[in-house]
Symmetry: D3
Subunit: 67 residues, 6 copies
């Protein structure tokens, strides 16, 4: 029954990688808390780098500086 | 003043259906808790089937099996 | 498979009212989009009135003025 | 370490405006609570006007009436 | 920089289990997407069983039936 | 109409500080995007330090080391 939301920047994540995130998060809840995988929900949000800020600046600008 | 967030998979939901979700959620809060519809906010997020997991797998894969 | 999050102020909502919100939201998704109630998740967050703002002020202060 | 999520309607917000939202929210947490800007995260979600409801109706319809 | 939110029912999760969820989610993002663990944020929300619904009913009621 | 969610650790934030966060976030949306303060909603979530992770560890542990 757990609900897991993963927010990442939209920078070319593949469908295969999303599959691994979904499997991994579901297994984590099963292994640590014994949660039933059948009712665990995982939602991945891909956020544009212009819309994500850290340290007071857009990730777009950090990427330009190679960070 | 309530805030309702509805997350669904992005599979051809029409504008008319969204209208019904917004009306329905707003009326629900009014009927059950007496909340003023004028300040009830409803936000609908449509999530790609690759980005939604249940039972440890992507909805995309479930749809391929007819689920 | 939908996920519905309802945020309301923490002002004496009863367990029976929460039950009605859960039923109502689940039925809404079934009626409008044909979603399977068995996998619809509803999470209710009750937020202290000091922690909820609208119109630039705390709900606590609005309540004191009878709003 | 704070996490700030700003949800707005998708109506032509520029990259420069997003930059100002990120800076402003980060500075707000620093000024009020002394939070370290380096680990403050801000995520902006732009939501289609069909997917945002207030007063029981879609923002799309409100905009048509000039609201 | 990823942000992970884990919502679970409030049913006696220990501090040690939370530690494992935080480590596990952080490692998952590093392993699958190469994300820097130093800026990965994980927030765990524990939700009362009265406030969590699945299948149109409160988890509290499901627990009473042994589910 | 914007919705702002501020998540911070639960470490003695006063009602007055919450008031300043609500005012500040509401003014930010007005100043940058011309949003009407009357319909701007701000919700503050205070999260236990055991439930917040960064760098793969609980904030509780970081605080013990003076971070």
């Amino acid at each position: 029954m757990p609900y897991v939301n993963i927010k990442i920047t939209n920078e070319g994540v593949t469908s295969e990688q999303k599959k691994q995130l979904i499997e991994g998060a579901t297994n984590l809840l099963r292994d640590v808390l014994g949660k039933n995988p059948q009712t665990t929900v995982v939602v991945i949000d891909e956020v544009e780098t212009d819309n994500w800020g850290i340290g007071g600046e857009q990730v777009t600008d950090r990427r330009k500086r190679g960070q």
